[in-house]
């Protein structure tokens, strides 16, 4: 079942990779002084990419079982080592792809043309979009690794050059953490290919080949660890999170939308795509440990969020707490848990992007992100307060909004897999309600009204929040739309 069929023979996925790059190339040619033109170019290329991704979303065939990829493209790349250019979409990557397009567009929309060296800024955002798209599409492990690493470069510069505070330190901390993880993954990639080559007789780095030839349990355990390290750092899973409170606050908000909203989810995506699919035995061994760490992450993130004064840090820790839910869902290793995690990945991307946007708007207006200095913002800006309230409720998982669906499924999965952890996660939900409502109440409701009053939301700002709000509401009301698309893939990955 699908809404329509896209014409075959068109390299849709390559096109999705190229569109932002073409935009970047055009930006490169534009004179640095033409900031308006550069911004328009950035928006245009991000918009076209999003449209293409939505086209793919609509043209995706729901239902066919097994590990079937759609819009597949296979070409030789380094044939002597069995490395290929293999792209494809399945239920795991489909919605993240669209989220990627959406957040990249939002980042472009809120990018301020008065930023110094704006041209390079836009350029790097577009390159980042290609890299994140590539991570989602690549089915060859080397190709995946190339995109995974390529993602680092624009992020490093976006933080190190346009960031706030100790930006170079922040960029570098982030880089070192992720690179250590990446190299562990690289070794695991080489190892899994070597082991499979010993079984099949010819070297291949193709996911679809590797997934059919699982290695021995011991080797799987090690390789699982290699991959998990890379993805756990990126998510981050406790205790590999300590780069997060350094890097997130330093990141400029447009880049942060993609960084927090999407890049962290790519870690979770990797855990499902590679750790669960390629190393089922490894996942059985390590699953309980990682699920425990994820639960610790939920509580730790939530408690830290309660302690924060800086709103950006508060959202950062809230994000970590939510990612703990996703990790718990993944390592429940049942259909409920993984599907819940997938849904929560989309929801979390939308909600966190929304929260960071709100913080950004508050900071733009009041010049501060300190929770203690903000109060009574509802009276001057009721619309602002209302929109924020919706996002806040979604963040704490209110039924009827999108945050609920994912968390509920994850809890279901966790209850069947690890009961004590599910109880711990439940505690996390309560804490989430606490820190989210305190954030909202403190900044908006408290009297007396702050002297430097908040100005009401402008139309373009509503425009930036609107798609996020739409998703929050629609996904909350019709959640069934989502599992239908991903169910077959999840079952195939879990081999159930």
């Amino acid at each position: 079942m699908s809404w329509y069929t896209l014409p075959a023979g068109v390299p849709w996925l390559t096109l999705a990779l190229l569109l932002p790059l073409i935009g970047a190339f055009l930006v490169l040619l534009a004179p640095a002084a033409a900031r308006g033109v550069i911004k328009q170019l950035g928006i245009l290329s991000a918009l076209l990419t999003l449209v293409l991704m939505l086209l793919l979303l609509g043209g995706f065939q729901h239902g066919p079982g097994g590990l079937r990829f759609q819009f597949e493209e296979i070409h030789h790349w380094i044939p002597s080592l069995g490395i290929g250019y293999h792209l494809g979409v399945d239920g795991l990557s489909l919605f993240l792809l669209a989220l990627n397009g959406l957040l990249s567009l939002l980042a472009m929309l809120i990018a301020d043309p008065r930023t110094p060296r704006f041209k390079e800024f836009v350029l790097l955002l577009l390159v980042l979009e290609t890299a994140t798209t590539g991570v989602l599409l690549a089915l060859d492990l080397i190709l995946f690794y190339v995109f995974w690493e390529a993602m680092l470069v624009p992020l490093y510069f976006l933080i190190g050059v346009w960031g706030e505070g100790r930006k170079v330190f922040a960029a570098f901390t982030f880089l070192i953490y992720t690179v250590i993880g990446s190299f562990a993954m690289l070794v695991a990639i080489l190892a899994v290919a070597a082991i499979t080559a010993a079984q099949t007789g010819h070297l291949s780095f193709d996911w679809t080949v590797l997934v059919q030839h699982p290695a021995g349990a011991v080797a799987q355990g090690w390789m699982f660890l290699g991959f998990a390290l890379a993805f756990a750092v990126k998510m981050p899973i406790f205790p590999l999170h300590s780069w997060l409170p350094i890097a997130y606050p330093a990141t400029p908000t447009p880049a942060l939308l993609v960084f927090a909203g999407l890049v962290s989810k790519l870690g979770a995506y990797g855990l499902i795509r590679f750790n669960l699919a390629l190393f089922p035995a490894g996942a059985r061994g390590w699953g309980p440990i990682l699920a425990t760490l994820a639960t610790i992450g939920i509580l730790y993130g939530a408690l830290m969020a309660l302690l924060q004064v800086d709103l950006k840090l508060l959202v950062a820790y809230a994000s970590m707490s939510h990612l703990g839910f996703i990790g718990l869902g993944i390592f429940s290793q049942n259909v409920f848990g993984v599907e819940g995690a997938l849904i929560q990945m989309i929801n979390h991307g939308v909600i966190i992007a929304g929260l960071f946007l709100v913080v950004f708007m508050i900071e733009q207006r009041t010049g501060t992100r300190a929770r203690s200095q903000l109060r009574g913002l509802t009276r001057p800006a009721p619309l602002f307060a209302g929109l924020f309230f919706v996002i806040a409720l979604a963040a704490l998982g209110l039924p009827g909004l999108n945050g609920f669906v994912g968390e509920f499924l994850i809890m279901l999965g966790a209850f069947t897999a690890y009961l004590p952890l599910a109880i711990g996660a439940g505690l996390g939900v309560i804490l989430a309600a606490w820190y989210v409502l305190r954030f909202y109440q403190g900044a908006f409701e408290e009297v007396p009204v702050q002297p430097a009053a908040l100005t009401e939301m402008r139309l373009n700002e509503v425009g930036a929040l609107a798609p996020l709000l739409a998703i929050i509401v629609v996904f909350g009301i019709v959640p069934s739309f989502f599992p239908a698309a991903v169910d077959a893939t999840v079952r195939a990955v879990l081999r159930t």
Binding site: H76, S80, E149, V179, I180
Partner: protein
């Protein structure tokens, strides 16, 4: 009457070397004839000679022509290195005139010596006998000793030459001693004869000591730790164009010998040479990457980076397989492109700024003064660090893969940890170029010379294109690594 046809005389095998040597002599004579103001033409003649030599390598691809009683060979391996060396030499000659003029060093001898060093290096790539190996090493070393001290009136350059000469002399001594012991142990000087003997009767203490000394001598030339002490001082003191040439070409030539000797001549006793080579590789990675962090001079930083890169190249030799050797060859090619580029940028900056131009603080905000230089430098730094999509990434990937297959976890682990560390100093250079005191008197943009600009763009495009499509060069490397003796 002596039958000359039985002497194995085959000048075709040495044609590239002969063309380069003839060019050197021609330039020497021309230098005597033309007025000093026209010495730029010497660069043109040298470049032409190198191009001809490049053409002369074509028949060597796929050939297997052992000549001169088994002392040299014309094969894909030699051709692969000839192409790398000649391209490096060609680009060096092209960027030299302007730099030399800026230092008042426009002498014809520069080109003669560069060409002589080239001839020595190419001989090394073709050498299959201990004698020709020594001949090649001496030819390139003596020329480089003089080149390192080419800025005669500069104290640092003198220091550089003297250090290089003294330590190089020691290394040659070790090398020769090692060769003598190997000859004593096996009774042969050709690699073919040695391989036959070793294959039949295995190793002996004498042979192993000989191999140990050989490793010392070659590691010195490849500037691998712990025989690297000279590298930072010599690199820093030598005129930057010389450093550019030396850092790339000497290392390539040294690895040509290491590859041929260890993978082709001693494959049967890999268990014996594995440990010393692994030790050299691990120490190089450690020292190179750690010490580079503390450097404040770009030439010294790149010197330590070069030491570390030597470690990565050695990793490919360790498994003793032609797969690994192919990876090392690819790494050498990648290293040639990216390191030449990096040093060329240093040359360009120094041409503008003067001697202080190699200090890192002088690079602050280079992005806004010299966007071309800074952008290309960024590409080279990312590539040296091994971040995709640059050729440096695939170089590391290809080298790591045989290690995983051979399950050599210790060197691999060291390589990975130190690679992570290397990100710090490579990216620091980029960050320095990006952090701009924009308001404080922005110096006017000075254009980079057209030749330099073209070469930098060429190198950075090559770095990226090879990082996206490494197949062609990798397949060449695989052809070259399928060695015969």
């Amino acid at each position: 009457m002596i039958d000359t046809s039985r002497l194995g005389i085959d000048y075709g095998v040495l044609l590239p070397e002969l063309v380069v040597t003839a060019t050197a002599l021609l330039v020497l004579v021309l230098d005597l004839l033309i007025p000093p103001g026209r010495r730029r033409w010497l660069a043109a003649v040298s470049a032409l000679g190198l191009l001809l030599a490049l053409l002369a390598t074509v028949p060597l691809w796929g050939a297997d022509r052992s000549a001169f009683s088994g002392t040299v060979i014309g094969d894909s391996f030699a051709a692969f290195f000839d192409v790398i060396l000649l391209s490096t030499g060609l680009l060096t000659v092209l960027i030299s005139p302007r730099f030399l003029r800026s230092l008042g060093l426009e002498y014809g001898e520069y080109y003669v010596l560069t060409l002589a060093a080239m001839a020595g290096m190419m001989l090394l790539a073709a050498a299959t006998s201990l004698m020709t190996i020594f001949l090649g090493i001496e030819l390139l070393s003596i020329a480089l000793y003089v080149l390192a001290g080419f800025a005669r009136r500069n104290l640092r350059s003198q220091e550089s030459a003297l250090k290089y000469l003294l330590l190089g002399g020691f290394a040659s001594g070790f090398l020769l001693y090692g060769m003598a012991l190997i000859y004593g142990a096996t009774g042969a000087t050709t690699l073919h004869g040695i391989a036959q003997f070793v294959g039949a009767s295995g190793s002996s203490v004498l042979l192993l000591v000989g191999i140990g000394f050989l490793v010392v001598g070659l590691a010195f030339k490849a500037s691998a730790a712990p025989f690297h002490m000279w590298t930072p001082d010599v690199y820093q003191g030598a005129p930057t164009v010389v450093t550019t040439f030396m850092s790339v070409a000497t290392k390539a030539a040294a690895f040509a010998v290491i590859g041929r000797v260890f993978v082709a001549a001693f494959p049967t006793i890999r268990a014996d040479w594995y440990f010393p080579l692994a030790f050299v590789a691990i120490v190089s990675l450690g020292i190179g990457n750690f010490v580079a962090i503390t450097q404040s001079n770009l030439k010294r930083l790149l010197a330590y980076s070069g030491i570390a890169q030597a470690g990565y190249i050695l990793l490919g030799i360790l498994p003793g397989s032609s797969e690994g050797l192919a990876a090392s060859l690819f790494y050498v090619a990648a290293y040639a492109v990216m390191n030449f580029g990096a040093f060329a940028v240093v040359t360009a900056v120094e041409t503008r700024v003067g001697e202080g131009g190699t200090e890192i603080p002088a690079w602050t905000g280079l992005f806004y003064r010299q966007p071309l230089l800074a952008t290309t430098m960024t590409v080279f730094m990312l590539s040296l660090a091994g971040i995709p999509p640059t050729v440096g990434f695939f170089a590391k990937l290809f080298v790591f893969r045989p290690l995983v297959e051979a399950q050599l976890w210790a060197p691999l682990a060291v390589a990975i940890v130190t690679t992570v560390i290397s990100f710090y100093y490579y990216l620091r250079v980029v960050v320095v170029m990006l952090t701009a005191p924009e308001e404080a008197g922005r110096p006017a943009r000075e254009p980079v010379s057209r030749v330099m600009g073209a070469i930098l763009v060429f190198c950075s495009i090559a770095t990226i294109v090879l990082g996206v499509f490494p197949t062609v060069v990798f397949d060449w490397a695989r052809t070259a690594a399928a060695l015969h003796l």
